[in-house]
């Protein structure tokens, strides 16, 4: 297996011969949420068996290409290259947006400031700043904890800041590993999905982001700002479904849109617009 990937299989309870199996693959950001949704859904409709696995947005999309999944969770839109591949393979895709995600920029809890503006953050992430001196006034080398290039969050931050990541950036296996590293490293900065943090998260500080120096800084934990689309690092979470599976997954998609589904999505730390 390519990486530590969460693999949940909701075992069928009854030997119903009308079992429908839905395979969901993709984004590590969404995997916890998808597992929860799948579990609840299975509780209501036991005739559906849903398997959920992570591996990164790119992995999920590749699985659809290889016809190994019914739903690809993705935290980024398709790239031009992928669109071309789907066209070449003759697979028609349906796109479903089920939640809104925010990415948090985190630092060690002893980090001296609470806010960072986007231009400064770009310079930190691209490696233009080697030391924290211009940002915090403390001469400490910057250590970047990022995700690997197969992560949707990785490409999201990169695109949103319009930079190439510093070649010194560490590539960690997942959100949890970034969190653990930041807790131990006073010089560290990292990015993780908002689903992994809450106001009770200990050991790390969630930076408020200002779009330009001097403008109001917004925290990813502030729900009303996210609803108003004022947080800089927010994005829709996609589910790509090949047309051949579209009929099969309808009931599940309806569940995601129901009040019950929405409650789970919000409880997991995501947002509904």
């Amino acid at each position: 297996m390519k990486k530590i990937c969460v693999f949940f299989l909701i075992v069928l309870i009854s030997c119903n011969d009308r079992q429908t199996i839905i395979k969901i693959k993709g984004s590590d950001t969404e995997v916890n949420l998808a597992v929860n949704l799948a579990e609840q859904f299975h509780g209501i409709k036991p005739e559906y068996t849903i398997s959920v696995s992570g591996g990164g947005s790119g992995m999920g999309i590749a699985s659809i290409l290889k016809k190994q999944a019914d739903i690809a969770n993705s935290s980024r839109p398709l790239t031009e290259e992928e669109k071309l591949l789907f066209k070449k393979m003759g697979i028609e895709l349906k796109i479903f947006v089920f939640a809104e995600d925010a990415t948090a920029i985190i630092v060690h809890e002893n980090f001296p400031v609470d806010t960072i503006d986007v231009p400064a953050l770009s310079k930190v992430m691209s490696g233009e700043y080697k030391s924290w001196l211009p940002v915090t006034g403390k001469d400490l080398p910057i250590t970047i904890y990022g995700r690997q290039s197969n992560s949707g969050t990785h490409s999201f931050i990169k695109k949103k800041l319009g930079i190439a990541f510093s070649r010194e950036a560490k590539e960690m296996n997942g959100n949890a590993q970034i969190m653990e590293s930041i807790k131990q490293d006073e010089s560290g900065i990292g990015y993780i999905g908002a689903g992994y943090i809450s106001s009770e998260t200990k050991g790390v500080k969630i930076l408020r982001i200002a779009e330009r120096p001097g403008t109001a800084a917004v925290s990813p934990l502030d729900k009303s700002s996210i609803k108003a689309q004022r947080y800089f690092f927010q994005r829709p979470l996609y589910q790509f479904i090949p047309l051949s599976s579209w009929q099969k997954v309808q009931t599940f998609l309806q569940f995601e849109k129901s009040d019950e589904g929405k409650a789970i999505i919000q409880k997991e730390g995501y947002y509904i617009l």
């Binding site: 990164g56 790119g58 290409l65 197969n150 070649r167 560490k170 296996n173 131990q184």
Partner: protein, 296 residues
């Protein structure tokens, strides 16, 4: 009648075992061919000189570059570090088990060391994240411990069982008459070990080391978790590195089929294959020399 039945049985089993044997060779050949095929496809698009001498591995950059040098240096750095730790420890342990330990201790120690090989590499990688890494960071005053040294320590642990087991067999196989002759001229135990037994077992010990190297080069999960995977050119033991295996593991899952990047991963896999093959062939060569030496 009875004989004919038996002969038929023999013929059937001969065919069966021949098939299984051929199948294994076919699998090996198949994998090798696939590696070569995709590597050739890569070299049609990128010149081998750029591949070997390029100092940047950045396939997804706006200007894609496929230089394998930083990856090879990373792998080499971590492997050399691992061997610097594992060789003295391994030979020392092997010598102790074989020459100094009493029978009961020996019966406990040898299986215990071999048990080390049973620990899954993810578990060792996890240890690197939560114990060894922070430990190195605290000892050296670095902000974090996700560096080549961390990977080297963990790989040393993983290569130890191989080294200890084979080196112990080699030391054990030195004929007792060598030691007796040494004691006979007045040498003590230490002198006998260092000047007689270990030199006599040298081919076996070198084989043990080479097989340990092979183990360390090919290990993926542990280095992926513990070394930080920085794509910049490695600067030393206290910097994060990204080995060949980690690069393949990170990039293989998302790369679109039949692209230059896809072929590039096979090309670096081929380089990795050659490196482990060289280490294993050297190991086998010394094992054979050692066997011949003692058979004579």
């Amino acid at each position: 009648m009875n004989t004919r039945v038996r002969e038929r049985y023999d013929a059937v089993f001969k065919l069966l075992f021949k098939t299984t044997g051929m199948l294994v060779i076919a699998v090996l050949g198949g994998i090798f061919l696939m590696l070569v095929w995709n590597t050739v496809a890569f070299f049609i698009k990128v010149s081998p000189v750029d591949f070997i001498t390029g100092t940047q591995w950045n396939p997804s950059g706006s200007q894609a570059s496929y230089g394998i040098l930083p990856l090879v240096v990373s792998t080499t750095l971590v492997t050399i570090g691992a061997m610097l730790i594992a060789i003295p420890l391994g030979i020392g342990t092997a010598a102790f088990i074989s020459e100094y330990a009493g029978k009961r201790l020996k019966n406990f120690l040898k299986p215990a060391v071999e048990m080390l090989a049973a620990i899954p590499s993810v578990a060792i990688g996890f240890l690197g994240i939560v114990v060894v890494g922070p430990g190195i960071a605290a000892l050296t005053g670095q902000p974090n411990g996700l560096n080549a040294l961390n990977g080297a320590v963990l790989l040393a642990v993983m290569a130890l069982p191989t080294i200890v087991t084979i080196a112990e067999d080699a030391i054990n196989a030195v004929p007792a008459s060598y030691r007796e002759a040494s004691y006979g001229v007045g040498a003590n135990r230490w002198q006998t070990l260092v000047f007689v037994t270990i030199p006599a077992a040298a081919p076996g010990i070198i084989a043990a080391i080479m097989l340990g190297v092979g183990r360390a080069i090919g290990e993926t999960m542990t280095v992926l978790m513990a070394t930080g995977n920085v794509s910049a050119f490695p600067k030393g033991f206290f910097h994060s590195v990204r080995t060949i295996t980690a690069t393949i593991a990170i990039e293989m899952g998302e790369v679109p089929y039949q692209t230059t990047h896809y072929f590039a991963l096979f090309a670096i896999a081929a380089v990795l294959f050659l490196m482990t093959l060289a280490a294993n062939l050297a190991g086998e060569y010394f094992v054979n020399r050692f066997r011949k030496y003692h058979a004579a």
